[in-house]
Amino acid sequence: MDKINSFQELKKYHENFVELLNLRKLSHEENIIHKREILVCGGTGCQSAESQITVDKLNEKIKESGLSNEVKVHITGCFGFCEKGPIVKVYPDDVFYIQVKVDDVEEIVQQHLIKGKIIDRLLYEEPSTKLKVNKQDEMSFYKKQERIALRNCGLINPEDISESIAEEGYMALGKVITEMSQDEIIKLISDSKLRGRGGGGFPTGTKWSFAKKYDSSQKYIICNADEGDPGAFMDRSILEGDPHSVLEAMAIAGYAIGASEGYIYIRAEYPLAIHRLRIAINQSRECGFLGNNILGTDFSFDIKLKYGAGAFVCGEETSLIHSIEGYRGEPQNKPPFPAESGLWDKPTIVNNVETLACIPAIINKGWEWFSSIGTETSKGTKVFALAGKINNVGLVEVPMGTTLREIIYDIGGGVKNGRKFKAVQTGGPSGGCIPAELLDTPIDYESLNSIGSMMGSGGMIVMDEDNCMVDIAKFYLEFSLEESCGKCTPCRIGNTRLFEILENITKGRATERDLDNLKELAEIVKDTSLCGLGQTSPNPILSTLKYFEDEFVSHIRDRKCPAGVCKELLMYEITDKCIGCTRCAKICPVTCIHGKFKELHVIDQERCIKCGSCYEVCPVSAIIRK
């Protein structure tokens, strides 16, 4: 594309490009053109399920059928409904196909594109009504969602800047740098009451105003895309599906505080997001949205990519800054905060991807609109990565104040395989486990803190009765322990000791004294660690102790794991229901099951490794787990 030299010119481009999305935006009836567009999800989840091959096959079959002029196929960002991926959407018919495989392509072309017949078996079936639904908006998964940060994911082709411009891309930047002063834009963001979506919840406008007030020859904007929370993938999906919104917001932030350089610190484990960002940065420079004299003004700003190298602690802003500088990613004491002395000792703003993605929307639609959504203290929406033992795994964006029950049952479709809900974990390794009796809690930063968890980056993992809470606490603590940088003693040694106690509990070696020690030490680590990692690493222990203490007690007093997870506390036995089919003996990896054909079999308990293979394979459920 050519360079765009003024805001006026950008507005014209926007007007011209709007029709690019007509097929996707207007209803079937309004579209008189007999053309179709097919959007195929190109997020990491769907691409892992080979959506790219589906795109290639679609193009091949469309060409074979002579439809190349009538039908266009585009890759788009994450639709969010990852459980049912790969997703294929046909416009203007507005038909949402799920779990589309390469073998389905022929039928889509023959039946849908040529004969205009919707393919029933590829539609989503609403579990409550058992009816097939073809429109996205009518699916229960989407009904309660409100998409701000994800507004363009699943709508535009992220590798085509003109589609971004059609959706008001860079219009907010144009408006800010031509019509607003630095203080006006900071006030607007403050008034919107946007808070950091990376977990801390610090007001974004306030952060910007701090960085603005320090005089310095250079200042920096950093986009924190080091999404380390296992099970959270919203930042990656935004960067894959709508990279331009993040670039635009960084330039706006640069203008607001007086910075001319920005860095995106992204996990090296996100190759697709890196690929799309590179394309987006190049396109944005070509159009003159990055570089010198943006849109013909005096404002200059450019962005570089920096790769992380697998260290969770680098999500903490001072660690992240050290990593960009080429050092070990260890945190340092605050103050001074990065807004005063950050990257190369210059005033620096570190904002999370989701926070940035909201900013152009706030400027285009106004702070009043944004602050009208949400609760008293937390405005706007929040994206959650819903995963674990839930029917609809995926990315969901809901207004702040939505209850956990609405997210898990109305949107998430409830617990998988009809099992009983036990807990939901929010906030990743820094958060806590929330039990069933608190499911009606409306979510915001404060409410989650008050029940011993936290917002975190938005991971939301559902657990059922087969999950052992002690094991879960141990899992998170092991994560924090591995990721502890070792700089401060409470985190390095305290977490090691906490882990040992949990290990003893799950192995049936603990005493009741250990439970008191666990509580006391967890509080000490929380109070005395240097950075956010150590200060929050005991949260999974403290919250499981608070709500599921009986499970800890069973492990310690009765030497039993109620969920049947902790292997050392388990025992498999063959009851007299055994028909002597020998299947268990054959599958046993350590050949510790003996018995003659058609006779009762016996497990040698001394040699049993408790793998559970026999339990799974027995055709008459003769094997019991104690």
Binding site: T44, C82, F233, K306, Y327, R328, A387, C611
Partner: protein, 159 residues
């Protein structure tokens, strides 16, 4: 570890890359990424080389290499089997899958089989949680993985 096992052309390739970045501390991690891409791992000679070219002491380079889990100083096997142990995969049984791989290959996480064929690693969330639990082999994703699939994967990658 002697330098004659590392081909000169690889050092040349790395040197060419270093010429394209600013010679300062801020380039270190980027250069190490490239070096690992070229050599497959970061042995002492490579760390020496990077330090010399960027004017940083080898001990500082080692400090960075050892800090970040993405960098490895040991050569890896022909097939790198990574088991996702992100939370979503964990609650859907990733620990059992990992255990089964370890038992069958008789190595533990992070190790490589003596014939240099397989390396077992864990990774934290590839973000395809809808397919949990996940195993990747040299980057190829296998979703909805079951412990019974372990043997199938080892057969598929037996060459």
């Amino acid at each position: 570890m002697s330098s004659n096992t590392l081909p000169n052309e690889k050092f040349k390739e790395l040197e060419e890359f270093i010429k394209t970045v600013p010679i300062d501390r801020g380039s270190l991690i980027e250069v190490l990424h490239k070096a690992q891409e070229i050599f497959g791992y970061l042995p002492e000679e490579v760390q020496d080389f990077v330090g010399e070219k960027l004017h940083i002491s080898t001990s500082s380079v080692y400090g960075v290499v050892s800090f970040y889990s993405y960098f490895t100083t040991e050569p890896r096997g022909k097939y790198v089997i990574s088991i996702c142990t992100g939370t979503a995969c964990f609650v859907r049984g990733a620990a059992d899958i990992l255990g089964e791989f370890e038992r069958r290959l008789k190595i533990t996480t992070g190790e490589t089989t003596p014939d240099k064929k397989y390396t077992i690693e864990t990774l934290r969330c590839v973000g395809a949680c809808g397919l949990a639990p996940i195993v990747t082999v040299n980057g190829k994703v296998y979703g909805h993985f079951k412990t019974n699939d372990v043997i199938k994967i080892l057969e598929e990658y037996s060459e």
